[in-house]
Subunit: 301 residues, 2 copies
Amino acid sequence: MPTIDTGAVRAWLAGLQDRITGAIEALDGPARFLEDRWQKAPGEPLQGDGVTKILEGGAVFERAGVGFSHVRGPRLPPSATQHRPELAGAPFEAMGVSLVFHPLNPYVPTVHMNVRMIAAADACWFGGGMDLTPYYGFEDDCVHFHAVCRDALAPFGGDKYPRFKQWCDEYFFNKHRGEPRGIGGIFFDDFAEGGAEHGFALIRAVGDAFLPAYLPIVERRRAMPWGERERDHQRVRRGRYVEFNLVWDRGTHFGLQSGGRTESILLSMPPQVAWRYQYQPHPGSPEAALTERFLPPRAWI
Amino acid sequence: MPTIDTGAVRAWLAGLQDRITGAIEALDGPARFLEDRWQKAPGEPLQGDGVTKILEGGAVFERAGVGFSHVRGPRLPPSATQHRPELAGAPFEAMGVSLVFHPLNPYVPTVHMNVRMIAAADACWFGGGMDLTPYYGFEDDCVHFHAVCRDALAPFGGDKYPRFKQWCDEYFFNKHRGEPRGIGGIFFDDFAEGGAEHGFALIRAVGDAFLPAYLPIVERRRAMPWGERERDHQRVRRGRYVEFNLVWDRGTHFGLQSGGRTESILLSMPPQVAWRYQYQPHPGSPEAALTERFLPPRAWI
């Protein structure tokens, strides 16, 4: 048995999902999250349950999905045991919360956050992070988002933010375009340093920092006027988001290939997307500034 | 050296691309294909060249891409040698034409066609096919498309159409949704039966059958009136096309992961796409008929 009360982790995760959807509903106005409780059918390779919450067509959020899931499996998949060969094939338990929010206004950035725990035999390890994908670059927003990430990680050692920031830059990268997905944030995986309680405290710090990291940016940008030009740019850039998630993101790609719940995995897909050949914003435009000045990895703070 | 004049194959492929784009321009009206000639830079792992042709914003076609490419590499990739272990690591040459057309009118189906040849040492083998992805089902269109495919393959033996039809149904399948991409057509890979000239004749038959298979369907449907309802359905169904190409299609997925020319590989992406949670057309509607009656694999002729 893992040296952590997995019921307490589950309760915290479910509460996090509720707190976040509550705050988003309060911010969005009348729109409400639809709630889908699901349970794996007996006989499926993974057993477990989850709650998928999705808001579509809101005033601020065109599509916002937050998923909670808690599954048990008979054998750890090879991808999870490369750093732990002694646990190959052991029964496991995995739980987490994952979200992607796609705002309607192109001046409001898309955001992703995830916290998760995997437990097998007497070991458990943690992963997660959050990252921001703007369509228009605002220095203030990038600095704010990274500062909240840094402050959340500070109690766990000064090395964590720089390490997890770099990890994020490396992970959320569209190799086929030589381009980062967004302006980064923090990402970590396979974290077991300091024991289970330390790891749980770490994902709590990340989960709790999400609303303070993101909501002030939404508040600053939500009333900015936009038109077809901005919308068009947003749709094409969202295509890059789709490319990353379906081609490179391990969770999405292997989730779909291994029989995960499709509609829950694809909560991250943007609502309206466009592809255009050799999309090139006019040199000197704010659209060009995004790729030239904001996406290349930078020390934001 | 392969027992075939690769220059003749190249000339035929380049001619096929021109014939098809010429016919599409004639049908579309004033819109013209943009033409991008590209060449791999010295020092890149693959050497070679190609011509990418793309028409965007036409009257009939919202996005239509046709790519020709001809590359040489120092070592056959493992994916190409699983049936030919004796050629593992041999220098190779690959050429082909690939197209995807996304019409604007949701009553006109999307279509895909590909013909290709790979040569290594004294062996060469062929692959390709064509398949149709309608947004609204019309029995006549499915029968016509499959009949032209069957007739094109008839000179190569009566077994070819049933074999290649089934292969197509199996290949163009979104496993994560338990749903075929479209109503099928023909697909084959690693074809070396009967020698190189026989294989070349086979891809000529397939390439030459493309316009007769597809254009009559476009002519029948292009003037059908449509509105936001049909357009919306089309956008969501196009999302399934994106999912197939980025998650399951070996050519696309490995092309992007192995450093292929991104904009040429992604010619297949639809111009405008939507994702919506648990999209379910009204029971009894023409939109529901697509998934209920047309997509499940059927003997069309």
